[in-house]
């Protein structure tokens, strides 16, 4: 296991895993969409508009999960100075930001027919919007600092400060009065004895796993790019660059 902590071995391992993870993601999405759009019945209150849940809820979950991964990896990089952890944090940010945006936009499109408005400045929506700005701030900060180690440290500190937003998002529907509905799942116990029908729960779970595996697929692709950039002075990266040029006929 430890041997994969070196960027060189991780690069190779990730390269082998990506096609498998990508295939699993695709199959899960197809199955989840089939269950969610084709098999699941309409909601007795919301009709078919509730089907937005199958992407909105996984996207919102992932927006928080990826942030915790980013802050956690940042902390590991900060304390133990592990390059791969820094790269995981950097690679996670754009994925997390885009899924936060997805949660906001799909939530807005669900809010209009359900609440009569695209947006309200309540605790849940505002704290999720803040999460989007935290991701953007992290990326802007890292892009502004050229030195990779200083860039990683600054990003990690920002991510760790911003992590207070995660419990605020999670508990916002409990702590404050809001239009946003409380969690339907929320805990493992609710999965075992859920408050929603299995025909609606199953597509939600499958789509959530699909988003989860999707994140790992994309983050590995991004980390491979980060590894090449930051390890460019090492012999093995030089070799990859040279072999690429040979096959393209650019290099004599």
């Amino acid at each position: 296991m430890y041997k994969y902590a070196s960027p060189k071995n991780f690069y190779a391992l990730a390269g082998r895993l990506i096609p498998w993870l990508g295939t699993i993601t695709l199959l899960l999405f197809v199955f989840g969409l089939y269950l969610g759009l084709y098999v699941a019945p309409p909601d007795y209150q919301q009709g078919d508009s509730y089907r937005i849940m199958f992407i909105h809820v996984p996207a919102a979950w992932m927006s928080m999960f990826i942030y915790v991964m980013m802050a956690g990896a940042g902390l590991v990089g900060l304390v133990w100075n592990i390059k791969l952890a820094d790269m995981l944090a950097t690679a996670s940010a754009p994925i997390g930001a885009s899924l936060t945006l997805m949660a906001l936009v799909t939530g807005s499109l669900w809010g209009k027919p359900t609440w009569g408005t695209y947006w309200v400045w309540d605790a849940r929506l505002t704290s999720e919007l803040l999460l989007f700005f935290l991701y953007m701030g992290f990326m802007a900060l890292q892009a502004a600092i050229d030195d990779p180690r200083r860039s990683a440290r600054a990003g990690a500190v920002l991510a760790l400060v911003g992590v207070v937003d995660i419990p605020i998002i999670h508990f916002s529907v409990v702590w404050w009065n809001t239009l946003h509905q409380p969690a339907s799942i929320g805990s493992l116990g609710r999965i075992v004895s859920p408050t929603i029908y299995p025909s609606m729960l199953h597509p939600l779970l499958i789509m959530s796993i699909a988003f989860f595996v999707f994140y790992f697929t994309v983050v590995l692709i991004r980390m491979r790019g980060e590894i090449l950039a930051r390890e460019r002075h090492t012999g093995w990266v030089t070799q990859i660059v040279r072999s690429g040029m040979e096959t393209q006929g650019k290099f004599p």
Partner: protein, 69 residues
Amino acid sequence: MIWHSWHAFFAMGGYADYVWGAYGFATLVLFWNVVSAVRKRKAVLKMLRELALAEQAPKETGAQRYVSE
């Protein structure tokens, strides 16, 4: 199976704009993620290749090529 026809499926019980708008946006975001991640790695490789060529160039064809690139 709960849909009586393809038409009913696409109409989404009158919520077509919202449902398909949300699914369409989600699809765009997922595609952007894959495309930008793959492009990022290829861009790094391309940059490293050009750097390697630039280093190689003066030895092979003189400084002329280094300048022209």
